[in-house]
């Protein structure tokens, strides 16, 4: 096993914010396998015998049929993450099949202001009907948490310099919305008294 291939963020700040629950700091049980660290000749099973692994979707496409990966998936040890470049609608069949095997899906933000991941998340929830955990990884900052949590993310691996206390306070800043999103319908629908109070 080559431990340098596992990202060091495994020990860092994680927030979970499940539907219907408050946001809270959590222990991170998933190691993200970064794309650039994968040597084409190695298989995931060679160096990750005992960890829960979030692997790049691009790797999943190549090795998901291996017996080892299938077994580990069934044991709940495998999740995949999508990069901003992944056109997920091109891989509908693989994703529908993968949904049954993955324990978690993550979406990577190479830089916080690259908004493609927001639409990827919306599609994963809306189109593919993913009910499991959806995690934001990469350049995940305090001031994007609200939007992330609304489009479909329910866990957030914060960049390590982000203040956890400030981050946790974000989720209570807004109590109303004016458009539908994964987490809540617009206040008109969620709180129908809007019609009566005007």
């Amino acid at each position: 096993m080559n431990s340098t291939l596992i990202n060091e963020q495994i020990y860092l700040k994680l927030i979970t914010y499940k539907l219907g629950f408050s946001a809270q700091a959590s222990t991170n049980e998933w190691a993200v396998l970064k794309n650039e660290l994968i040597d084409g000749t190695l298989r995931v099973s060679d160096y990750l015998p005992s960890k829960n692994v979030l692997m790049p979707f691009s790797q999943w496409i190549e090795i998901s049929s291996s017996k080892d990966i299938q077994e580990r998936s069934l044991r709940g040890e495998i999740g995949v993450w999508f990069s901003v470049e992944d056109d997920i609608l091109k891989y509908s069949d693989l994703i529908y099949a993968g949904k049954k095997l993955w324990s978690i899906i993550a979406i990577d933000f190479p830089i916080f202001r690259d908004g493609r991941g927001f639409s990827t998340a919306a599609l994963i929830r809306q189109r593919f009907g993913w009910q499991g955990e959806l995690r934001a990884i990469g350049d995940v900052l305090i001031d994007q948490l609200i939007q992330l949590s609304r489009v479909g993310f329910d866990s957030f691996e914060l960049r390590d310099d982000q203040d956890l206390i400030t981050a946790l306070k974000q989720f209570d800043l807004f109590t109303v919305t004016t458009q539908n999103a994964w987490r809540a319908k617009r206040s008109l629908i969620a709180l129908p008294e809007r019609l009566e109070t005007t």
Partner: protein, 582 residues
């Protein structure tokens, strides 16, 4: 001060709108505090402040406050006047996107300014940044004689839909929406990322035609029609599809190639619209769509004001009604003002009045002082049900004026320099703040506007020239809409010097056209001379009733080009560089 208790016929926040705006202020306050204490670095703060309308300009922070679809009430304008006095230098700049900008605010005071704005149902949300911007619309909505559909309920519904939309807060680039419901287009619809044209179909149902991929900037393109007759309630789901395709596939590698127009051009409008249709097919029947209840809740605010029954007054020619009351020295000015600064209304006995924010050379186009803002608020209260609208030409509209009040209104407005009869004329210049303020600009806009206004200061001559648009942008970002001016002026940088490129033949409206470059660019002190030469060609060649744009279309660019470049005299006309400085 006058106190009025108008029941404004415009949208009024309910508790949800107000809560959202208040909570947005709290959120931004926290972000500013973290910026000031250093825990939030500038490059991470930047997109946050931009999404709240706060730019860092050449000298100071600039706060762009939203005026959704251009509508304001007198109370809001008084608040803007007070804020500009208290936190700025006593004036504001109305923009081509129907917003208002304060040029000299301090970062630590911005949250307080936002708190004051929130008290009168105003904010600065999404007036900048790579998100869905404040929606622009027809300032004459609800009153113009050529109206097919009153756009305001849809504008408001889409304002709410787009406000803090979580999926589209980090688009590849800014995203501007215009909505028109009249026969004439007064929104520059075809130069927006999305243009929504509202119509009624055969069964009297409200439907939308959707144009996508228009824009100005360095790649001016007119929008393509990608959807006909979309029933109004589908707008949220359809726009989600439009934006989702753009958010996923718009270019992010080059800021100059990131607008939706580049994606639409690269894919072709047909392929782009088919991708949108594919996406929409999955979401069109979801509960994103507007409901009749929502329509009713919003639309009821846009009722007609309590117009009087004035049928009989309309039989008489307008000017005649005032002839006997006018002082001799008022006759010409008032007559010209009636001709240029008023517009027909749907309701007999009423008229719309445009107050000019384009004095000749004494203030920047679109600027209003705090005193003027207060005066305009008073005029709105006295003469127009307390409401006013901002036009994209950077003037102020009093939409519902009783014709019999025109003379009183004119006299009062005249005291505040608001009645120059130049609406739609050459000196009604659209201009961005340019290099005097903006850190993006290559060149100054305001001294150029000033020099042109002073050159054409003779009102007889100006009126004789007829309708003509002249637009100035200080850089290729085109905030001054130079591409669609009959005469367009663009500031360019040549080896660190400010030069100006001139285009001819641009037009807005449904006949929108992008102007053509006349030739090599000019120095600042040459521009007004060049404009004079261009106008001379027009005057020498015009037939009866022909406007500048008609002559241009008939003759093409060549005679103008010849006149401007016929000898090198222009190059020798060096003048002191600071002559036009303001």
């Amino acid at each position: 001060m006058l106190i009025f208790f108008h029941n404004y016929a415009m949208y009024k926040y309910d508790q949800f709108d107000q809560t959202l705006i208040n909570q947005r202020v709290v959120q931004f306050k926290g972000q500013v505090a973290r910026r000031i204490d250093g825990s939030l670095p500038e490059d991470e703060f930047k997109p946050l402040r931009l999404q709240n309308g706060l730019y860092l300009q050449r000298h100071a922070y600039m706060l762009r406050i939203a005026i959704p679809y251009g509508m304001l009430n007198s109370k809001q304008l008084r608040t803007l006047a007070n804020i500009s006095t208290k936190y700025d230098r006593g004036y504001g700049h109305f923009t081509t996107r129907q917003n208002i900008q304060l040029n000299w605010v301090e970062l630590q005071e911005v949250p307080t300014v936002l708190e004051e704005l929130a008290k009168v149902e105003m904010h600065a949300i999404q007036t900048s940044g790579n998100c869905i911007r404040n929606i622009t619309s027809d300032p004459f909505a609800g009153v113009s004689a050529d109206e097919v559909v009153d756009t305001r309920p849809i504008c408001e519904l889409l304002r709410q839909w787009s406000t803090l939309h979580p999926e589209f807060a980090y688009l590849p680039r800014k995203f501007k929406v215009a909505i028109n419901g009249a026969l004439e287009d007064r929104t520059v619809l075809l130069c927006h990322d999305v243009g929504i044209e509202l119509r009624k179909n055969d069964t009297d149902e409200l439907v939308a035609n959707i144009y996508v991929g228009g824009g100005m900037g360095r790649t001016p393109i007119l929008g393509s029609l990608i959807k006909n007759d979309l029933p109004w309630k589908y707008l949220p789901s359809y726009l989600t599809a439009v934006l989702r395709v753009y958010n996923r596939f718009g270019r992010r590698d080059n800021i100059y190639k990131a607008r939706i127009k580049i994606l639409v051009k690269a894919l072709g409008a047909k392929e782009y619209s088919s991708q949108v249709e594919d996406e929409w097919a999955h979401i069109k029947d979801g509960d994103d769509n507007f409901t009749r209840l929502e329509w009713d809740r919003v639309a009821k605010h846009f009722t007609r004001p309590l117009y009087k029954n004035l049928e009989t007054q309309d039989s008489q020619e307008l000017y005649k009604q005032f002839e006997l009351q006018l002082q001799p020295n008022e006759v010409v000015g008032f007559k010209r003002w009636l001709e240029r600064n008023t517009k027909n209304h749907q309701v007999p006995g009423y008229i719309s009045v445009v107050l000019s924010l384009k004095p000749h050379g004494t203030a920047a186009p679109g600027d209003a002082t705090a005193n003027q803002m207060t005066a305009i608020a008073d005029l709105a209260d006295l003469y127009s049900f307390g409401e006013l609208r901002v036009t994209h030409e950077q003037n102020i509209l009093l939409a519902d004026v009783e014709k019999s009040n025109l003379l009183n209104l004119w006299r009062s407005a005249k005291l505040h320099d608001l009645v120059l009869p130049n609406i739609g004329l050459l000196t009604d210049i659209i201009a961005c703040p340019g290099g005097d303020f903006c850190s993006l600009a290559n060149a100054k806009s305001l001294p150029i506007a000033k020099a042109i206004q002073e050159t054409f200061n003779n009102l007889d001559y100006l009126h004789d020239l007829g309708g003509l648009s002249l637009n100035i942008s200080g850089c290729i970002n085109s905030c001054g809409h130079h591409h669609v001016g009959n005469i367009g002026i663009l500031g360019v940088d040549k080896d660190g010097e400010e030069w100006y490129q001139i285009t001819l033949g641009g037009e807005q409206g449904y006949h929108a056209a992008i102007g053509k470059v006349i030739g090599p660019s000019f120095k600042a002190n040459q521009v007004h001379h060049v404009i004079k030469k261009i106008i001379d060609v027009f005057v020498a060649n015009r037939g009866d009733g022909e406007l500048f744009i008609d002559v241009y279309r008939r003759l093409g660019i060549t005679p103008f080009k010849q006149a401007v470049y016929e000898n090198d005299a222009l190059k020798n006309e060096e003048e002191p560089q600071n002559e036009w400085a303001i």
